[in-house]
């Protein structure tokens, strides 16, 4: 038994190191991320970004995003607008507390990548494509979201912008 101890130990270490290879796809979201939206009026940002980011540029097939933001964390810089945005007339933070994105497929696109998946907002699920780059442990992406597609205050289509440009900047660490 003693004779085989080192061989077994080496095998265990080798096996464990293989698992660290699998885990290395997972990234932790750093605190200094930003999820900003801009439709002219309103403009602002969300906080409360949570979820799992599994990404390996060399293994896109097994890469996946499942992230969400806290609707109640919306900040437009104006207290009244924040209250309106969280109300049932707009995003209804009480009934739909999260806006989430879950990727189905990540592919290479030009110098960056594209994540195809489902954006769940205000109780409506829609398939979207999120183009992004991954450089220096920072995910950067930008999409346009039309609030009318997600039944957000459809009664007042001209009250504030319909299409919001959403800029996402997420530094990550292992």
């Amino acid at each position: 038994m003693k004779k085989h101890f080192y061989a077994i130990a080496a095998f265990v270490v080798l096996l464990a190191s293989a698992f660290t290879g699998f885990q290395s796809m997972d990234w932790k979201i750093s605190d200094n991320y930003s999820v900003k939206f801009d439709g002219g009026d309103p403009a602002g940002e969300f906080k409360g970004l949570k979820g799992t980011i599994s990404f390996d540029p060399n293994d896109l097939k097994d890469s996946k995003f499942a992230v969400s933001i806290d609707v109640a964390s919306i900040n437009t810089g104006n207290g009244m607008k924040n209250t309106h945005a969280k109300s049932d007339k707009w995003l209804d933070a009480e009934k739909f507390p999260l806006i989430s994105f879950t990727s189905k497929e990540i592919t290479k696109a030009g110098s960056g990548y594209e994540a195809k998946g489902t954006l769940d907002m205000h109780g409506v699920q829609k398939d979207i494509t999120l183009p992004f780059t991954f450089d220096g442990n920072v995910f950067t992406g930008s999409i346009s979201v039309n609030r009318m597609d997600y039944n957000v205050n459809t009664a007042e289509p001209n009250h504030g912008a319909q299409v919001m440009k959403v800029d996402i900047n997420v530094p990550v660490s292992k």
Binding site: K36, G44, T76, G77, N78, G79, M80, N82
Partner: protein, 131 residues
């Protein structure tokens, strides 16, 4: 004539500034909402002095132009103006790094009344006795 109003404006500005600084400190300790990069000692003193000097100009001008009912028009205008200014803190968009923008109007709205309150408080010391 303006000399008297100017002195009243300066003293009212100082009083309003003191009240504003005290109120901003009390508000900070009560709510722990920090708006010091927008509302701080310097901006409070500057804005209150400027407001009270403008009030002094307005008072002098009205007394010169409409002699009879100048005080009535002035008092009414100052009260309406102070009240109308409430729109500013309610509609202003703060930088996104400022937390709790919901609490900003609670800090600023009472302060909007400090210059006129200080002016009216000092008025008996500066107004000429009626004959």
């Amino acid at each position: 004539m303006f000399k008297k109003d100017f002195i009243q404006g300066i003293i009212a500005g100082i009083l309003a500034s003191i009240a504003g600084i005290i109120y901003s400190r009390v508000y900070f300790f009560a709510n722990e909402a920090d708006f010091s990069n927008i509302v701080n000692v310097y901006s409070i003193i500057g804005l209150n002095l400027a407001a009270c000097i403008v009030i002094a100009f307005l008072h002098t001008a009205l007394l010169k132009w409409i002699k009879k009912i100048a005080e009535l028009i002035f008092n009414l205008s100052l009260s309406i103006l102070s009240f109308a200014l409430i729109v500013i803190p309610l509609s202003i968009t703060l930088p996104l790094n400022v937390q709790f923008p919901e609490l900003f109007p609670g800090l600023v709205i009472p302060m909007l009344f400090f210059p006129s309150m200080a002016w009216f408080t000092l008025n008996p010391f500066f107004s000429s006795p009626k004959k």
